[in-house]
């Protein structure tokens, strides 16, 4: 893959579109939740106002260098995840920096933000942040196992580690999607998906009522704004990976937005009907149900 300078501008454009899409989509999801509950709900542009407000706050308190770097690392995880994955298949502009082994890098970036957050939250010195981070790392580790197995399964299936080639193999018909060619791997990966989306039943990490929102307890103003940006960017980037690996990718922005929204709604729908797991319950759940399905996926290929 050759590198050209214009790609940087294209990547920035991708980032801009995805952040705006994420801001509006999360607000729409909350709005839908409110409407289902009989409320009017927040305005769809509420996320923008919150962002501006948080950047506009006047006093900022630092707890050290790592405290600064926590949100930066987290945002890097989100941006990196997005930039090394082809967002729109077949488009020169939104191909981004995808290369031969990008699947491995993407797996790494999913974890990167959590690790950065762990360091930052540890520096903040708040005991509840430390509790939240240790829960988060334990749960994410357990949840990533089925995903890793599923990724092995499909890289065996397609004999490649390049996401672009995996997407290319799924084009043509809806029945070429990994969802239909390798349903077991898809199911295993969806375990990991709901587990890392920070939604109920796997949101004990931030549990607002119990440990006041866990890792970000001490974060405020611009730090919090960075994390909010990441909170809208990271799920979309993660959904893009899933979309590319299992749901045939997207060839234009309309298809992109519909698919991302539908996949995102999977975790939302599971979230609204399930109560919250405790950490040891969720880890046990992933090891008991997610892991065997992942192993099965590899065996079947």
């Amino acid at each position: 893959m050759t590198f050209e300078w214009i790609q940087i501008a294209y990547a920035a454009l991708t980032l801009f579109i995805v952040i705006n899409y994420g801001l509006i989509m999360t607000a729409v999801v909350r709005k839908i939740g409110a409407r289902v509950g009989g409320r009017y709900g927040i305005p769809v542009w509420q996320n923008y106002i919150d962002l501006v407000k948080n950047f506009a706050l006047r006093s900022k308190i630092s707890h050290g260098v790592m405290f600064y770097l926590g949100p930066v690392f987290r945002l890097t995880g989100g941006i990196g995840l997005l930039l090394f994955v082809p967002t729109i298949y077949g488009s020169v502009m939104f191909q981004n920096f995808s290369f031969a082994g990008d699947l491995i890098l993407a797996l790494y970036f999913i974890f990167f933000g959590t690790l950065g957050m762990a360091l930052g939250a540890g520096e903040s010195g708040h005991p509840l942040a430390a509790i939240g981070v240790s829960r988060g790392l334990a749960q994410v580790t357990a949840a990533e196992l089925p995903l890793a197995l599923a990724v092995f399964a499909i890289s065996l299936q397609y004999q490649t580690l390049n996401i672009t080639e995996i997407v290319a193999a799924q084009q043509g018909s809806i029945f070429n999607w990994t969802l239909f060619t390798n349903p077991v791997a898809t199911v295993a990966a969806m375990f990991a998906f709901v587990g890392t989306m920070m939604r109920s039943p796997f949101d004990v990490v931030i549990a607002p009522q119990e440990i006041p929102i866990g890792p970000p307890t001490e974060y405020h103003s611009a730090y919090l704004a960075l994390m909010q940006t990441n909170r809208v960017l990271f799920p979309v980037a993660k959904v893009v990976i899933y979309m590319n690996l299992f749901f045939g990718g997207a060839t234009n922005w309309a298809e992109f937005s519909i698919k991302v929204f539908s996949i995102y709604m999977v975790s939302v729908l599971i979230g609204v009907v399930h109560p919250r797991f405790r950490v040891e319950q969720s880890i046990r759940f992933f090891l008991k149900w997610g892991l065997p399905v992942g192993v099965l996926a590899i065996l079947m290929v």
């Binding site: 409320r39 927040i42 305005p43 006047r58 006093s59």
Partner: protein, 230 residues
């Protein structure tokens, strides 16, 4: 007041000793070195709060104020019976979310502290800590007659009677207790104040810092925290 009792005099002599873990002490390190520790000086930041200037351009400040007004994050900290009147605001009937009002679980992320009802001396200490940890600009709303003049706790030995002696209050909502509708009206009124640029309670607090601290320390006798909780 006409019914002042002259014969009873409160005890003003007795001092509360500092808590044991906060007293200055000398610690011997494993290598024999002696270390002087004064926890209140060493463990906490002693800096007083600063007055924050507004943006240079009025239009920028107006834009910021608009954003602040439309994204009020309330600290979920209920001090009295009024906390029960805040919960219905999340329900379909009142639904405060549609005005950009949200509840945040930590003071670091909140902009509005609602003192919801009577404030005992013990709770006042926590409320001050929570208020000082919030990022500026921050707003305080006093709920109910207890925060205005003591309300039905006007003769209580343990509740304060005038909130604006201790914290810079932007807005009072009268009633005992005010209904959720009154609260919503209060939020709208606060929004108007912020849009006009009058929500400068944090700067007022920083300017009159010594006066507020003297008032706070006159009722909180076991002051065991730094003067400003960063």
């Amino acid at each position: 007041m006409k019914d002042v009792d002259k014969s009873f005099r409160k005890d003003t002599e007795t001092e509360i000793p500092l808590r044991e873990e906060l007293q200055p002490r000398t610690v011997t390190a494993p290598d024999g070195q002696k270390i002087e520790i004064d926890p209140l000086q060493d463990y906490f930041c002693q800096e007083p709060p600063k007055v924050h200037k507004q943006s240079y351009l009025k239009i920028v400040e107006d834009f910021y104020n608009w954003a602040r007004a439309n994204s009020l994050w309330i600290l979920g900290f209920g001090t009295g019976c009024g906390a029960i009147e805040m919960r219905p605001l999340m329900t379909p009937r009142f639904d405060a979310y549609r005005y950009g009002i949200q509840w945040r679980p930590t003071p670091r992320q909140a902009n509005l502290l609602v003192i919801s009802g009577y404030l005992s001396v013990k709770t006042l200490k926590r409320a001050i800590r929570a208020y000082e940890q919030m990022p500026s600009p921050k707003y305080v709303m006093g709920l109910g007659s207890c925060t205005i003049n003591g309300g039905m706790y006007w003769d209580s030995y343990n509740t304060i009677k005038k909130l604006d002696e201790y914290l810079p209050v932007d807005l009072y909502i009268a009633g005992c207790m005010p209904r959720p509708e009154a609260l919503l009206a209060g939020f709208m009124e606060l929004k108007k104040k912020i849009r006009k640029g009058e929500g400068e309670g944090a700067n007022k607090y920083a300017e009159n810092f010594d006066w507020y601290k003297a008032n706070q320390k006159s009722v909180i006798k076991d002051w065991d925290m730094p003067d400003y909780n960063w």
